[in-house]
């Protein structure tokens, strides 16, 4: 594997990029789902019932984690770029991922 691809900064950038792509694909679906409310609460409810299926529930959890990851790693980029943050990359990356997974855990616990 290429040396640059084992670097922490690269891993951070890839997680940031892949979570961003996932979110970009998800968002139109999210908007369409919410807009079912135009047909009344029962329409939205019918849609929400789908999200209780195990696979969908898992994907929902995954997209929440993706959002938290993308934000956390985005804050890292903003810190380096705009606040001249001289990061210790392993610490920064670990912190970002820990925060994102914590959000995921809270989501799973609250939902369950």
């Amino acid at each position: 594997m290429r040396a640059s691809h084992t670097q922490r900064g690269f891993i951070a950038a890839m997680l940031h990029r892949l979570s961003g792509i996932a979110l970009a694909i998800f968002l139109p679906l999210h908007f369409l789902a919410l807009a079912t409310a135009l047909n009344g609460a029962h329409a939205l409810n019918a849609f929400l019932a789908i999200t209780r299926q195990p696979l969908i529930a898992f994907l929902e959890w995954a997209i929440v984690v993706a959002l938290a990851t993308h934000m956390a790693l985005g804050l890292r980029v903003l810190a380096v770029e705009f606040f001249d943050f001289r990061e210790r990359t392993l610490a920064a990356l670990s912190l970002c991922l820990a925060a994102a997974l914590a959000v995921g855990l809270i989501f799973a616990l609250n939902l369950g």
Binding site: G20, A33, L34, A41, L67, M71, G74, I106, N110
Partner: protein, 106 residues
């Protein structure tokens, strides 16, 4: 320019997403129904304005990010790519504002 727009909306979204995540984590306690959502959003102007701004910021931020990814990882670039992403941005804007309206007016 695109870079300035993307970083600016990033700052806006940092706040908006934090609020959104906190709201979601709170709201899903014990399961989520349409009634729960709509009870909060129906007729709630502050809510609608917040999510309206959120949608606009996302409609700017996401396509610019995707543009970087596509230009670096695929042969797609130039005018055709820019036009496709503009269409994507408009779609996000339209669908997003429609969704905000849907839960406000439902």
């Amino acid at each position: 320019m695109l870079f300035v727009a993307q970083r600016t909306t990033a700052f806006v979204l940092a706040l908006a997403v934090a609020v959104h995540l906190a709201t979601i984590l709170y709201a899903v306690r014990g399961g989520l129904t349409a009634a729960d959502i709509l009870a909060r959003t129906h007729g709630n102007l502050a809510f609608a304005l917040f999510y309206g701004v959120f949608v606009i910021a996302v409609a700017i931020h996401a396509p610019i990010g995707l543009r970087n990814v596509l230009r670096e990882w695929t042969p797609w670039r130039g005018r055709p790519l820019d036009l496709a992403l503009l269409a994507f941005a408009l779609m996000l804007l339209a669908l997003g504002l429609r969704a905000v309206f849907a839960v406000y007016a439902a």
